[in-house]
Amino acid sequence: MADNEVIMKGNEALAEAAIRNGCRFFSGYPITPQTEVLEYMSWRMQEVGGQAVQTEDELCGAYMLFGASAAGGRVLSTSAGPGFALYQEAISYLVGSDLPAVLVDVSRIGNALGDISQSQGDYELIRKGNGHGDTMVIALTPASVQEIVEFTGLAYELAEKYKHPVIILYDAAIGQMMEGVTLPEMHEHDIDQYDWSVKGIKSGEHGRKITNVSYFCDNMYVGYETYLRDKYKAITDNEQRWENIEVADAEVVLVAYGISSRVCKEAVKVAREEGVKLGLIRLKTITPFPVKAFEEIGPDCKGIELVEMSVKGQMTDDVALATKCNIPLYGYFTSYEVPETKKVIDLAKDILAGKAEEVL
């Protein structure tokens, strides 16, 4: 890499950003539309003396990462849709074992064979799935290649701060497209930096056990309940991230993340030129869900327009709760088509004209 200002695909930018943040361990398995990460890592890790393993399947990818994290490495594994579904058990184990890790889901449409178009259908999987038990992860939703790069650094920071898995979720459109991007400087990660990681003991030290954290809590599950609640609360209180655009005086507030939010941003601008007061709450985290972003909504707001590429309108419930069910919700849901600026605005106009149907 000759310089820090380049054009890159989202997937490749993620890979390069991870490396520049000190990631020296990658494990994963090919799956469209994220295979570029593996392909990039296959040569780039050799340049920087790291490890890129094409594992035999996603499970091995996830559990190698589990081990590499336990050993103190800064680690990455990426997948998409069905492959990410196979990570579920491991994510639960990462949470239950207090291990930092960065995982990426490049979401694609659909539930079964043959689906690779862009989509935002994995929202619930990432926000509420996460395997068995009482799991919650931190989930970041970048909307541009540049933001992928920034959130990659942030992801490592949060993962290690909370000793917790962080998931970066973006859809195929962002993963596959190239944009201009400024990359961070190269940064080395010290695998000995944390006391908790396994590294062999020194004379007199006790052996470390990376396992179910509840074993180390007062009264086991009783203490673990508190531990986990406190951790989740800290994350919820401190890590909400969003971008509000002209929300305060908006008559219709759009809510979106990722690729859809870019269209919404344009819609706000175009609509305001036409005299329609749109605003946008862009979710930069979906977990914790940025409830605080909704405080800025003003008294002029007639309705919220959810813009998401999903059949179910997967963020509906969270937005309803964030607004205490006080603002009518409308949805422009598309599943695989990238939403169009004009349609966003048209629905907003219908909302204002009282012609739209609520989703909840």
Binding site: I7, A173, Q176, M177, M178, E179, R262, K265, E266, P339
Partner: protein, 179 residues
């Protein structure tokens, strides 16, 4: 101003790279860009294409519905995308492959570029795409020849392929001057 371009042709014709070169040129000249490929099973056998958007401002969706420019390296590319060109937009046709008697919409500008011939002339038989870009620069005045030259040199130099620089610039110029 937002410029929307699609490059399309057979897989193997270097379509994606052509798009990247245009994007990179725009980026190095201070523009925002998005480049978006067809990916996945579409790659198999058939056609390849990519969409480029160039703007001074943030770009919303990387998809394009109203093309300023279609760069068509073969016939099927025209079949598929001609209708999306804006009235008054440009269709650059690879005249080395596409039949000469083909009919086109009459509200667009069709420019035929004999890429094989030009590349040969430039002494760079693999430079068909770059010759095509040269022609596009001349017609659309998106960038000056010099602006694009320096970006193309940087692009290949960064990739460790500086030895092709002269040949590539020759192809670019030959294409530029062919119009």
């Amino acid at each position: 101003m937002l410029t929307e371009i699609i490059c399309a042709g057979f897989g193997g014709q270097g379509i994606l790279t052509t798009g990247i070169l245009i994007s990179y040129g725009a980026f190095k000249n201070g523009k925002k860009i998005t480049w978006y490929p067809s990916y996945g099973s579409e790659m198999r056998g058939g056609t390849a294409n990519c969409t480029i958007k160039i703007s001074d401002e943030d770009i919303a969706s990387p998809y394009a519905k109203e093309l300023d420019v279609l760069l068509a390296m073969n016939g099927p590319a025209i079949d598929k995308f001609e209708e999306r060109i804006k009235p008054g937009g440009y269709l650059f046709v690879n005249a080395s492959i596409v039949e000469d008697d083909r009919k086109y919409r009459d509200d667009i500008n069709v420019i035929k570029v004999d890429t094989v011939e030009l590349a040969k002339k430039a002494g760079n038989p693999k430079g068909e795409n770059i010759a095509m870009i040269g022609a596009i620069l001349k017609v659309t005045k998106m960038f000056t020849l010099e602006q694009f030259e320096s970006s193309i040199i940087k692009y290949f130099t960064d990739k460790g392929k500086e030895k092709f620089n002269d040949a590539n610039i020759a192809a670019l110029k030959t294409g530029y001057e062919s119009i």
